[in-house]
Amino acid sequence: MNTGQYISGAGHLGLIAYMIFGGMFLSPKQTESVDVQEVALISEAEFAALSATSTAPDTFAEAEALKAPVAEAAPAPTPVEDSTPEVQPSDAPPPDVPEPRPEVNESLPAPVNVDPTPPSPQAEPELSLEDPGAGLPDSPDRKPTPRPVPRISDQVVSTPEPQPEISDAPVEAPSDTAESEKVVEQTQEKAAPQETTTEIVTEAEKPSGMSTSPRPKSRPANLAAQAAAAQKPAETPKPETPKPATPKPETPKTDPADAVANAAAEAAAALAAEAAETPAAPKRPVGPPLTGGEREGMRVAVSQCWNVGAMSTDAMRTKITVGVAMNEDGTPQAGSITLLGHEGGTDAGAQSAFEVARRAIIRCGARGFPLPVDKYDHWRNIEMTFDPEQMRFK
């Protein structure tokens, strides 16, 4: 008996020692690999090429917008007066980028320029969930700020094609980069955006972008409760348990001892009874539960329309639960959408948050949510919890 313990002890000690020292020996490797990632090899020429390309689109963007009309104006029969004013602004913007645009606004005290203001729907897709700080695409307001710059630099990073067009200003830049195109592209992903932002974009973008990025999703505190709520995915995360659990009779099969089986059966029966109390059961067969993917699809579908941009600060502190009855075609019954409860915030905030949530459900459900008809009984009623915590700027 003692020998067994000694052997076990020795074995464990050896294992512990291996874990400690093995870990120590392993760790340097990991840090090395991190270092390797950080290193970015940029020769001076490449750097020059980078900065050249990054500045190039700046003038290019300005010039293209203004020059196009000029070129048209020259051959076209349109009066000469048109072309001359066009030329003057094209001279003006390059020296001081932010100033001239607002001046135009100033001269019109009455904000009559309503038509240009609403950005075309194309602008919308540019908004991403990930960077709310990157802001809204209301173009007139952005003009005075250096905001356009980051977008342009993005384009350069992704598409090296515009080079032939850039050629009017910095000809050397494209010629330098032409040969090492691939390399530049790779390094740009890490180096170029930083350069452009620190040098040019700081005014508006740097602080807001950093400070308003939504926090990464934290690990939920009540995993067990969430797992309970997520009835169907419970299958996958817990492979040992559900298989025996789903069909009742199977439970005895797995147990090794009678005592265990009894205890398990008791616990199961008690819990099942407890759970069965709540729903008022329509006695008809229920199909298999929704898969994780189907639930995720539904979640994403609602999220896409949940626009928290115009929500009050109060509403942004309110977590609400909304109930909705669904039609078999996947559309929500608009009249059935009700506010079931809220946490945090005020009643007014909850009401305001509810209106936003209702809009999301109706708007994105107008063509039917992507839900499998054969599992209708599983989504006949849906309870959605809208928690804006992660969308709140901190």
């Binding site: 067994g4 100033e106 203001t117 729907p121 999703k217 009835q231 348990t241 005592a259 929500m311 305001s352």
Partner: protein
């Protein structure tokens, strides 16, 4: 090897019971006939401007025709200018609103993805005054947001009427107050940097309706509105040295405040009750904060340190004052009781902090921060936590809150000898940074409360 066995068996049994209990706990709804409602957690949304349709208001009388369109244009500009909304151009509208009373064709507005709709009509009454009626609709809920409203006013005040409509629309859609029917007092600047003429100007929040309150014969700076918006406190060099002065906006009459003639006084600000003011006074080399009852002229010294204390700002409840002080060696922000006393430091980041101003909602303090050669406008909670920098530039300073505590206006000065200052506004989320149109250089904005 005999003893461990029962031990293992019991642990096995225990873990099995636990596992089974857990599995039934999670899977039990499946055993029931009715699976119950599907539970979903939505934690990610999108942030984008809400599409609004604002068809031109209907002119009910020929005299109202010229105002109807202007009013709807101002409303659209107000709402779109917040960055929270975008207007769907009228050319895209399917159903034309021709009668204020006719029912809304929700399907037509849904088809163009309008989420909100503002309809209105402008008429004139017997006295020639404008009467503006309007309604706000939630298109997807197929219901009006609140009841219809009617506002009246003289034709000369049509912009204010439009701003008031915008305020109502804004608050019905977002659930918080608007800030459109408000004014901004600021220092208008003309001339080169070394010989700059400064005079007080007051204008609508959107730059319209500019009026001057002083001439440019002497330098003025740092104007502040009273809580009712009828008076302005500012610092003036009229006597040759900086002295705080009060000015009635309606009558444009100035009142020198009873401060010692030999003292330098500056950075005045009203208490929330409008009855007293707090300001900085320099005697010799030392600057401290004082409070004065306007009616009696009685003053109370609030701080007494060898350091420089300035830029005081009351909390909305009037119980506390936030100010800047260099008592720790660098400019930092402190909060003390409104009657003076122990101050606690709230700014803890790198750099220097100045010109704090308490949000009208009371939850945040805006400030100017100088760090590594850059200036920032930022906000922090009143305990100094959750500091967020909203802007960065060569020189940003002097934040002022919009009446709803959601937008900040500040001065931005450009670099170089030809640099000029201008007013900018930014949302407290850091979004929607934009220049406030002024036709001269402008600095030191102070936002009024919502007008009555």
């Amino acid at each position: 090897m005999i003893r461990p066995l029962p031990f293992r068996l019991t642990t096995l049994a225990g873990s099995l019971v636990c596992a089974l209990a857990l599995s039934f706990g999670t899977a039990s709804p499946m055993l029931a006939q009715d699976p119950g409602p599907l539970q979903l957690d939505i934690t990610r949304g999108v942030i984008e401007p809400l599409p609004l349709a604002i068809p031109d208001f209907i002119a009910e009388t020929p005299q109202a025709a010229e105002y109807a369109q202007q009013i709807s244009d101002v409303i659209a500009a107000d709402l779109v200018g917040t960055g929270l909304f975008r207007e769907i151009p009228p050319s895209a509208h399917i159903s034309k609103v021709t009668n204020f009373a006719s029912p809304v064709q929700y399907a037509d507005w849904k088809a163009i993805n309008a989420q909100g709709l503002v309809t209105g009509a402008v008429g004139t009454d017997a006295a020639g005054n404008l009467v503006v009626k309007f309604r706000v609709f939630d298109i997807y809920a197929e219901a009006p947001l609140g009841g219809g409203l009617q506002l009246g006013g003289s034709t000369a005040s049509w912009r204010r009427i439009a701003h008031k409509v915008s305020d109502v629309v804004y608050s019905r859609i977002t659930g918080e107050g608007g800030y459109f029917d408000s004014r901004v007092v600021f220092v208008s600047e003309t001339g080169p940097k070394n010989d700059r003429k400064k005079r007080l100007g007051v204008m609508d929040y959107d730059g319209a309706g500019l009026q001057y309150l002083t001439d440019d014969s002497y330098i003025v700076f740092a104007p502040r509105f009273s809580p009712t918006g009828d008076r302005v406190l500012y610092t003036s060099y009229e006597t040759g040295r900086p002295q705080i002065t009060m000015l009635d906006v309606g009558t444009v009459t100035r009142t020198r405040l009873p401060v010692p003639a030999e003292a330098v006084t500056f950075a005045p600000r009203f208490a929330p009750d409008g009855q007293s003011i707090v300001y900085s006074m320099s005697t010799g080399t030392n600057t401290d904060l004082y409070r004065m009852d306007i009616a009696s002229g009685q003053t109370t010294r609030l701080t007494n340190t060898p350091a420089i204390e300035t830029a005081p700002s009351f909390s909305p409840d009037g119980a506390q004052i936030v100010f800047e002080s260099d008592r720790s060696g660098t400019q930092q922000l402190y909060i003390m009781p409104a009657g003076g006393g122990e101050a606690r430091r709230i700014s803890n980041g790198k750099g220097r902090y100045g010109t704090p101003i308490w949000s009208p909602r009371g939850d945040l303090i805006a400030f100017t921060k100088q760090n590594e050669g850059r200036f920032h406008i930022g906000v922090m909670r009143t305990d100094g936590s959750e500091e967020r920098l909203l802007t960065a530039s060569f020189l940003d300073e002097g934040p002022s809150w919009a009446p709803n505590g959601r937008v900040i206006m500040f001065t931005r000065e450009s670099q170089g000898a030809g640099g000029a200052s201008a007013l900018y506004s930014v949302d407290i989320s850091g979004r929607n940074l934009k220049r406030v149109p002024t036709n001269t250089g402008a600095s030191d904005p102070a936002w009024s409360p919502l007008l009555k």
